[in-house]
Amino acid sequence: MSSIADTSVLPAQRRRLPAASSWTMTTAVSVALLALMPLGFVLWATVATGWETAQQLIFRSRVGELMINTILLVVFTIPICTLLSVALAWLTERSDLPGARLWSWLCVAPLAVPAFVHSYAWVGLWPGIHGLGAGIAISVVAYFPFVYLPVSAAFRLLDPALEDQAASLGLAPLAVFRRVVLPQLRLALCGGALLIGLHLLAEYGLYAMIRFDTFTTAIIDQFQSTYNGVAAYMLAVVLVVCCFVLLGLEAAVRGRRRYARLGPGVARQAKVARLGRWAYPCLLLPLVTSAFSLGIPAFTLGRWLVGGGTSIWRMDEIGLALSQTLVICLVGGLATTTAAVPIAWLSVRRPTRASRLLEACYYLASSMPGVVVALALVTITVRLLLPLYQTLATIVLAYVIMFLPRALVSLRASIAQVPMELEQAAASLGRSPANALWSTTVRLAAPGAAAGVALASLGIMNELTATQMLAPNGTRTLAMAFWALTGEIDYAGAAPYAVLMVLFSLPLTWLLHHQSKKIAGR
């Protein structure tokens, strides 16, 4: 009797685990499909427009101008950011630069200032500033931390024994840097450069403020003035093609190899270079960089705040904007992290070709500019699901699409840290699978999830492009209010909003900095 009962129970038990993971898979696939909607929309727009019209709208001088602007912007900004970041990372990680720890933090801090606030600060200081030169300069100070962060982490992970070895083979220090250090920084450099490139394509506020036209600003102009749908769609198509070009370039340059450290043991700590009498000249670099990337925003904001006195603190409006922003950030951050849970779990615990493909889909979707995501969601809701047009649900979906990888990275790292044996141990102590999962992995991965929420919220707080196009009627986030006020040339009135955004972003930026240190094990 009992033996029959046993055998009938066992197979059912065994089938349970794949069932759970297939359920996870289904969710992950659904989220991926949602995330790929904007891309699908662009495809649809191209096909629906027809070749004839598309050709007319794409091959015209206006698009040519925008293209030249975009190419010049990318071609100048990325190399400058790369050089600057590598130099800064070397100084802060590999030399005895006085105050290296402080500088390393100050090199990340510009991320706390939204790009359009950088722009606003520069315009406040030099009212006539505009055009390509200004665009490049402001982009560099706003975005170089995207390269600095991974490169400084990579510096910390390098095995100095390789550099010693190269020296013993007769290479002078500069040659060692070129032939041994740089190749190992390649992954970090490529990743950071790609991130900057995508931001350059997607940013609206920064360039609109200094009247520098890019595809994104042009699409929004179209969208706001005439609502010339087809023309805007075609610009979006070109913009998406630009994104793909960047992604392809990065993949080609990066190559497929990861350079793992060979051999056993822990790498020796790297020696720091003695700067000696060069210390003070070298200090100039982080000093000047911080003066532009932090000093200018601080100065302009300070000036407006002092000049504006108490009258600019319209507490009711500011309070409303603040509470609305916090709600949107929190809801968006939570939704993003929740949406990332299935794929994070799959990619750590059940890594397969399918899970890797899904992950790639999320990354691809999130690299689409906010304006394209917003345009797609506006069009789809207006045409198909009007009740969802300009609702919290739609804007949160946009945030999920745009910021999911941020949550994914944090989640995956923390899930990977929890040994699966722990879950099994809990199960062997008599917990049900769900209970075991809850009492071990979920508990232990919670800090990572919190970091994921925080990082996604940081993105949402400083997001302007999609928020503007999708926000429910009557919503006025800090970023929107700031933008509206600068539009009315009320620079003083906009200052409190900028200050609030920076203040809220600072702790999150610190978290980012801290995380990158932790990844490197220090």
């Binding site: 010693d164 190269a166 020296a167 013993s168 083979l169 007769g170 060979l262 051999g263 056993p264």
Partner: protein
């Protein structure tokens, strides 16, 4: 002719004295082995010679030129000293041929030719040239690292436990290949190792290191037979240490009266016998010199505990050929060949 000379080398890491007054002379074309327990400063010494660290005091002379002292150093890339680290330390982003040709300033074709020649020399297949380091086994990586260090015909080669990652069989083979390559090329070599057998087999000068200084430097046979102290004796191989009263070249020990070389010394001390000096033979019926109180069978030899008769029962462990000895309780006669060694 002296190639390398180290005088009074000192190196501190915070409160830790990694090197504490190191002296060493290596003649041109010689092979020096440095042995010592973990953490005694071997790697630090090699890093100082290679130019990766700077000494706190003392000086390093190469070919009569001072290449480092506390104030000034010739940088590593100008020393032409090859080094092979414990884990090979190949450049992970470069193929085998690029790794080997890394330090050569020549055209690609020349590098390729030199690389394949060197690969032959260290006994690796030409097919490996195009591989990346992570597609090689530990032993192969080690040999590529050696080929890379040899490519520039260094004046001095430093080997930091290059064979420790390899299993026993491969280890002996790799060591033999390396020794051949180095002596053919006539390159002065310093080998650091944990393994005293390796050191004795490899070197024509053996340096025993402890606590950041050399306690003894000499020919391997000399150091093995006449170590300066008991710790060195035990470190270099099996040792039988006996309490003794010495007078005029004769030592009174539990094993009877033994000859000693030192005719001057008199008084109480400990003397050393190596196991190969002691012969153990089972006696049937008679009393013998001692009894086997414990026995561990180990194939060709047995490790036994011998307890000697006499006033205070003295016992020691020794390996004996297993053919003759059967079981604990056997009585044995003990013979000693050659003089015992007194620690100075």
């Amino acid at each position: 002719m002296t190639l390398l000379q180290l005088n009074f080398l000192n190196k501190h890491f915070g409160a830790v004295a990694a090197l504490d007054g190191v002296h060493l002379t290596a003649t041109s074309g010689s092979r020096t082995a440095i042995v010592g327990p973990s953490g005694c400063g071997k790697t630090t010494l090699l890093r100082l010679i290679a130019g990766f660290e700077t000494p706190d005091a003392g000086e390093i002379l190469l070919d009569g030129h001072r290449i480092a002292d506390a104030d000034a150093q010739v940088p590593a890339h100008l020393r032409n000293i090859g080094i092979v680290a414990q884990d090979g330390c190949l450049f992970p982003h470069l193929s085998v041929v690029d790794n080997i040709g890394f330090g050569l300033k020549a055209e690609r074709a020349v590098k390729l030719a030199r690389a394949s020649e060197l690969l032959d020399m260290v006994g690796l297949d030409q097919a490996m040239l195009a591989r990346k380091p992570d597609q090689l086994s530990g032993g192969q990586q080690q040999r590529v690292a050696l080929a890379r260090a040899l490519a520039r015909k260094p004046r001095l080669m430093l080997l930091d436990e290059p064979f420790s990652a390899l299993d026993t069989g491969l280890r002996a083979a790799t060591r033999k290949a390396v020794t051949e390559v180095l002596s053919t090329a006539g390159i002065t070599t310093i080998l650091v190792t944990h393994d005293q057998g390796e050191a004795l087999a490899f070197a024509d000068q053996l340096a025993v290191m402890r606590g950041g200084r050399f306690v003894q430097v000499g020919h391997p046979r000399e150091v093995y037979e006449r170590p300066v102290d008991a710790a060195t004796a035990v470190f270099l191989g099996e040792a039988v240490l006996l309490p003794a009263v010495v007078t005029a070249g004769r030592a009174q020990t539990p094993l009877g009266v033994l000859a000693v070389e030192d005719l001057e010394f008199r008084g109480q001390t400990t003397v050393l016998l190596r196991p190969e000096q002691i012969s153990v033979r089972r006696v049937e019926g008679g009393e013998g010199d001692g009894v086997i109180t414990d026995l561990v069978f180990g194939g060709s030899t047995c490790n036994v505990c011998l307890t000697l008769g006499g006033t205070e029962a003295f016992s020691f462990r020794i390996d004996v050929p297993s053919r003759d000895i059967r079981s604990a309780g056997d009585r044995v006669a003990i013979g000693v060949d050659g003089p015992a060694h007194i620690f100075p």
